[in-house]
Symmetry: C2
């Protein structure tokens, strides 16, 4: 019989309906390929096609926007938000709007067109994380930008429109709703019990073990109790840490290991599936709004890994009611045995 499970952080019920008995091989499709023309604007030699880089990992003697780089961060050409003028906010009758003030950047993660994030060396992954941190540090100095989103689309089914591996940052004057809900539940939990919700989740999960995929000294990767989709994963720092921006050099290496480990396991058993990464981090502490003050104990950053194996249907897309035919315990078991 199916089971309804509640996610205390994200605040929803999901139906875990194991009886359909979906196994990893049922999800294997053609792989995470992305169509598109022969020309790749992210490949070395085509630097002139992108807006000028705002950050790069390249030899000291190589000039910006030329070849020789290992990683580049450039403004997005298809801007979800843009820095022009000041942030304005106005009513349109019953509605409200702001100009789309913000920053939208693309992290071109590698010069090699055919690599995916699972293929990078740990050192290379560390440099990608350092690029995120560097941009985060710069962007958060603008107090109008309340939240900096970091996400990755791997494969067409995950929304990637270019095959060349990249991730994206959007710095926005609003806090995205999923994060806002997490902030609310984490804060309420902390007010009631004086403890961090995610710290308590990790403790319970490490003790139970059945949903743990892997762990190192610093990080644990688990299949969430109320996973919305098959093989969903969450990468969490073991020690309480409010702000992603506060991670140490050791933790950068630990996160690089955890990302490579999780993505390699998914690639092995699901044959290079499409997926999204979403960094759920604390809001910008420099932002003008005081609603989310720096309580430090009321949030615990983490990375969501969302394989895009099946199309969401009307109950999910229209009502937020998820039905997951792969219990997270089974997903974790397959992933544990994959390496």
């Amino acid at each position: 019989m199916p089971e309804l499970r509640y996610d205390p952080l994200r605040r929803y019920w999901v139906s875990i309906a194991a009886e359909r008995g979906m196994r990893p091989s049922d999800f294997v499709k053609a792989g995470a390929e992305t169509s598109g023309g022969d020309f790749c604007p992210f490949c070395p030699g085509n630097e002139h096609v992108t807006p000028p880089e705002v950050y790069a990992w390249r030899p000291d003697d190589s000039p910006p926007d030329g070849p020789g780089w290992e990683l580049r961060v450039v403004p997005s050409k298809f801007r979800a938000l843009a820095v022009e003028g000041d942030l304005t906010r106005e009513a349109e009758g019953i509605f409200e709007k702001m100009n789309g003030f913000g920053v939208h950047e693309v992290v071109i993660e590698t010069p090699q067109h055919h690599l995916g994030m699972a293929d990078y060396s740990l050192e290379h992954l560390g440099e990608i994380i350092r690029a995120y941190l560097s941009r985060l540090t710069e962007l958060k100095t603008d107090p109008r930008l309340r939240y900096i989103m970091i996400a990755k689309n791997h494969g067409e089914a995950a929304g990637a429109t270019l095959a060349h591996s990249h991730s994206q940052l959007i710095a926005a004057p609003i806090i995205p709703p999923v994060v806002s809900t997490e902030l609310d539940s984490a804060r309420e939990y902390y007010r009631e019990r004086g403890r961090c919700l995610l710290c308590d989740v990790i403790e319970q999960e490490l003790e139970a073990g059945e949903r743990i995929v892997s762990q190192s000294d610093g990080f644990v990767t688990l299949a969430p109790f109320a996973s919305q989709v098959p093989f969903e994963l969450c990468i969490v720092p073991k020690r309480h840490q409010h702000a992603f921006a506060a991670i140490t050099e050791d933790e950068v290496a630990g996160l690089a290991w955890a990302l490579k480990d999780a993505l390699t396991r998914l690639k092995l058993i699901l044959k290079d599936p499409a997926y999204n990464l979403a960094f759920h981090i604390a809001p910008n502490a420099e932002a003008s709004s005081g609603r989310w003050s720096t309580l430090e104990m009321d949030f615990h950053w983490h990375v969501e890994v969302i394989p895009r194996l099946i199309q969401s249907h009307g109950f999910e897309r229209g009502m937020g009611f998820y039905v997951n035919f792969t219990p997270p315990e089974e997903a974790a078991s397959h992933l544990r045995e994959s390496l």
Copy 2:
């Protein structure tokens, strides 16, 4: 420059980024085909393959579960929820769970394998709506079922796994989160102003006109101010109506017209796109929980039409932050001119 817009009912900000300049033809793909074998469990002659019907539109002299029907409602074989035993609720440490008590049914809308909802006659659409209403009336007598979801998946990109046109009902012991948010905002608005939020939205939209696609005496179809995706539509009864179950015979005909009109327009300009329908209706007034009492003024049912033209990306899927490159004013203009 992009614009951030707030949805007062669904409570999120969306970036409307017109500068990418997406036109309807940019979204046209192969059409809403669904792969699958040659055998269709929903076609006449294969009635024995489905669980026994719980409702049918068929001649009086034709026996159940045989051919001759125009519409059948059967329990789903892949149950998201199931009626077995009693509703139980228990803790698992920090987590909460219930057995998956509920009902999951499939409305096989037509005996004709190749028709879509846009192709039905108005009379046939009326019978589909009557089937929803009949099941709703029966299911809501169980006070453990707090909400009855009605949704449709058209095409593989919308989550349909069978090509034969059908819709689905899930009666659940929980209220889905998107509806729960809408109930909260509608109730707060009503408490503050003594008016219905959606009634006020309709009034403003009819006056502005630019986001209206079409209207009849009873219903209006509009492109929401803060549309999450290109060509999203909302079909709303013009007069305030709390419960879908309370619609009159005239309104059944009006809704049939509005559905056919909206789906025909989408089919014409987007060449049979995949889409989801989601009925946002009031919770079950017979349910045991008193949280959503029958205030009658605090909710206004409506139908969301969500074309699935592009894959959602990491910001949407992981954080609930939508970026829409087709302003609803443009979508409405294309759709107005389509017929």
